[in-house]
């Protein structure tokens, strides 16, 4: 029982990452009808926002400390971050420590701007082009973004720890009457889950309760009609792309402490997020979220030792297996609309 509870938590946590990425991807599919293979790259850029903020906050000046030597035996240079010299070591240290949450503030405008630039500069020229061309151009863009990041940050993962306050894990087991340590879960991952829930709720509320959202939803349903009504849908779609980019970016920023970011993390998520979107059903936002959580939970359960011992290797293929079954049972995924990306 405790194991199941634990894997449920895990699944929710994994699922929140999947759901966030799939949500952004579906916004772009649904509103713009574009297959965005660069969406994984946006997620990665988000994570690197966290890395960048961390680096900016730790920009240091060097002083030579005659007592210490470096690896070559020369007098060592000691680095002191400027923030520490400005605010004192304690306050400065705290600022560096909180660089990931600080990065969220930076990531939103940056990712929206990146989304705008991408849409205006590139994607808008591809609305009328075949999906194959969209795939090629966005895949090319993804490679370029990835390589540029690699030039600046190298290929190895870069540690971006969560603030000390979120280190350690919470013991659910004690609350529920299990033994201590039976059901523990790291604080930061709980934060991630909560954060994802807030972002998802915000996106839905935004689409549901604002005029802007209504127009966009109408546009998703029937683009031409809305265009005929004299509403500048293109401009709204640009904003939508920015929001989708921001959602992917936020997913990335918050993910940075969970797994140290590296330049190819976007590609690792790309295929998976497409599977999630399609299983959820093309063009359906609730479908994407539902499928994200569902696949996350199934993936977690399949990695349980009991299940692995019955079906070896099941955790390697579970997502794909479930995708195949769902698509065969439900032709348009869980909640897909008819005629979206079916030709």
């Amino acid at each position: 029982m405790d194991v199941i509870l634990l894997q449920l938590l895990n699944g929710l946590d994994k699922g929140s990452a999947y759901a966030l990425i799939a949500l952004g991807l579906t916004l772009i599919f649904g509103t713009l009808g574009v297959v965005n293979f660069a969406h994984g790259a946006l997620f990665m850029l988000g994570a690197f926002c966290a890395v960048t903020v961390q680096r900016l906050l730790s920009i240091s000046f060097e002083t030579i400390d005659p007592d210490k030597v470096d690896f070559l035996g020369n007098p060592a240079k000691v680095k002191t971050p400027y923030v520490e010299s400005w605010f004192g070591p304690e306050m400065g240290g705290a600022i560096v420590d909180w660089s990931v949450p600080i990065a969220i503030l930076f990531a939103i405008p940056i990712m929206i701007a990146i989304g705008f630039i991408m849409e205006r500069g590139l994607i808008k020229h591809f609305y009328k082009r075949p999906h194959a061309d969209q795939i090629l151009v966005t895949f090319g863009l993804a490679i370029v973004i990835q390589e540029v990041i690699k030039q600046f940050y190298g290929a190895n993962p870069i540690p971006t720890p969560a603030p000390d306050a979120f280190k350690g894990s919470f013991d659910f087991g004690v609350l529920l009457g299990f033994d201590p340590n039976a059901v523990i879960y790291p604080y930061w991952r709980l934060v991630y889950f909560g954060f994802a829930a807030i972002v998802i709720a915000a996106v839905f509320a935004f689409l549901q309760f604002t005029t802007f959202g209504m127009v966009v939803r109408a546009g998703m349903a029937d683009r031409e009609t809305v265009g005929l009504l004299g509403i500048n849908i293109d401009k709204r779609f640009t904003i939508m792309f920015g929001i989708a980019a921001a959602v992917a970016g936020l997913a990335g920023v918050m993910y940075a402490p969970i797994n140290s970011p590296n330049y190819h993390m976007g590609m690792d998520f790309l295929v998976l997020s497409f599977v999630v979107v399609v299983v959820g059903g093309m063009g359906s936002l609730p479908g994407a979220v539902l499928a994200g959580f569902m696949l996350g939970i199934l993936e977690s359960f399949s990695s349980m030792n009991v299940i692995k011992s019955i079906v070896p290797g099941i955790d390697q293929i579970i997502i794909y297996l479930v995708a195949i079954i769902i698509l065969l049972v439900r032709p348009r995924g869980l909640m897909g609309r008819k005629g979206v990306m079916e030709d």
């Binding site: 297959v35 590139l122 020229h125 082009r129 075949p130 999906h131 194959a132 061309d133 795939i135 090629l136 151009v137 895949f139 090319g140 863009l141 993804a142 490679i143 370029v144 990835q146 390589e147 540029v148 030039q151 590609m267 295929v271 497409f274 599977v275 399609v278 299983v279 093309m282 070896p312 290797g313 390697q316 293929i317 997502i319 794909y320 297996l321 995708a323 195949i324 698509l327 065969l328 032709p331 348009r332 995924g333 990306m341 079916e342 030709d343």
Partner: protein, 401 residues
């Protein structure tokens, strides 16, 4: 000729000439010169050009004609390779059984995967094929290791049975004694040209496959596939069930992929699981779109383009750059190298990504369209309308969807 229209015949002849003289064409620069770095006329890369050419031609029969975008074709490539290596392990190094079995097994897998996946269309189909391929990859890498040798890749060990292996036969892949790796090198002054047995075998097979593809494109069957791509509703209301046609196209293209996989194993008897990964499936999609989906020659061009970058650009390191620009004054030299450095060697992916974008932005029909524009421009300049150089425009240039 050969049941082909005139323009198709000339296209086939041009391709035949290009492949047969590839050792010359791909080695234009003298040995030892600074530009020799760009020579691509060595056996391994030439083999790869034609093998991936076969793969892409086959993929195009499915994608270019029916519009069904499979994201899992690499699975058939991998299955073909594994089949061929198993034949080497069990029977011996003659490549015939291996190639035959690779085509058969990949065809069977294609039938199974196609039968299930083709129940859906559009992106749903793409994801189904992707899911099958990723499952094959994941299992081949881990659980199926007894069958695939996992991470290391399936290879022939001295302890393998090889029932039909005899002492006088070479201990590497061969065709009735002719070793695939056998190379005859022709030295002409500073130039050097390699004629490799394996390459010519692959090239001849590719020509055969190219011919078959032309026949399919021009056949009623090909016409039906194009019809499926433009309007499935009308197909249905014309009394035609699209499923058998698409399934046939899927199986044919899966067999092409299996053949390519079998040939790959025959040229180099090691089959690794990465061959089945989604990136490999994506690669053939990119080759086809880059070259020009739905055109006859496009996929081959796309395959050559990507393989050239992968193998040639990735080998340009700073030392090579310094050799090239040694004539410049020191400051200039370093400046130029700093500029170029991110785009070559370990940055070859960056160049490839930029070129993908450039091609798709400026040449919506792929490289074939670039060729058409060039010939059109040349013709306009020459001020006459000739029949020559019409090879690209002879094909159906409708962009694929």
């Amino acid at each position: 000729m050969l049941g082909l229209e005139k323009k198709d015949t000339s296209l086939l002849i041009i391709v035949a000439i290009l492949t047969m003289f590839a050792p010359f064409i791909l080695n234009p620069f003298p040995e030892g010169s600074a530009l020799a770095q760009f020579n691509a006329g060595y056996p391994d890369l030439m083999q790869r050009f034609v093998i991936f050419g076969i793969f892409a031609i086959g993929f195009n029969i499915l994608f270019g004609l029916t519009g069904y975008l499979s994201f899992g074709h690499a699975a058939f490539l991998g299955i073909g390779s594994y089949s061929a290596v198993w034949m080497f392990k069990l029977l011996g190094y003659n490549i015939i059984p291996g190639i035959v079995l690779s085509v058969i097994t990949s065809g069977l897998f294609a039938l199974l995967i196609g039968y299930i996946s083709l129940r859906r269309s559009g992106i749903y189909f793409s994801i189904l094929t992707l899911a099958f391929a990723q499952m094959s990859f994941a299992l081949a890498y881990s659980v199926l290791t007894p069958l695939t040798n996992g991470e290391t890749g399936l290879q022939v060990y001295n302890s393998d049975p090889q029932y039909f292996h005899s002492e006088n036969m070479p201990n590497i892949p061969h065709l009735f004694g002719a070793k695939m790796q056998g190379t005859y090198s022709l030295e002409m002054g500073p130039w050097s040209f390699d004629f490799n047995t394996g390459y010519y075998l692959c090239a001849i097979i590719m020509l055969g496959m190219f011919y078959l593809a032309i026949r399919i494109f021009r056949s009623p069957f090909g016409l039906m596939l194009k019809a499926i791509k433009t309007n499935q509703t009308r197909m249905n209301y014309t009394g035609l069930n699209p499923r058998p046609y698409t399934l046939a196209a899927f199986v044919i293209s899966g067999m092409y992929a299996g053949l390519a996989g079998g040939l790959m194993a025959s040229m180099d008897p090691l089959a690794g699981a990465e061959r089945m990964q989604w990136t490999a499936s994506g690669e053939v999609v990119l080759m086809t779109i880059l070259g020009g989906a739905g055109t006859l020659i496009g996929p081959v061009l796309g395959a050559g383009f990507i393989k050239y970058f992968e193998n040639i650009f990735s080998k340009i390191n700073d030392t090579v750059l310094h050799q090239w620009f040694a004539f410049l004054p020191d400051g200039m030299e370093n400046f130029v190298i700093t500029i170029i450095h991110p785009f070559v060697g370990k940055g070859w992916h960056l160049t490839l990504g930029l070129l993908f974008m450039a091609v798709v932005i400026f040449l919506p029909g792929g490289l074939v369209e670039g060729g058409q524009r060039i010939t059109a421009a040349l013709r306009r300049r020459a001020g006459r309308s000739g029949r020559s150089g019409d090879d690209a425009s002879s094909t159906d240039t409708t962009p694929a969807e």
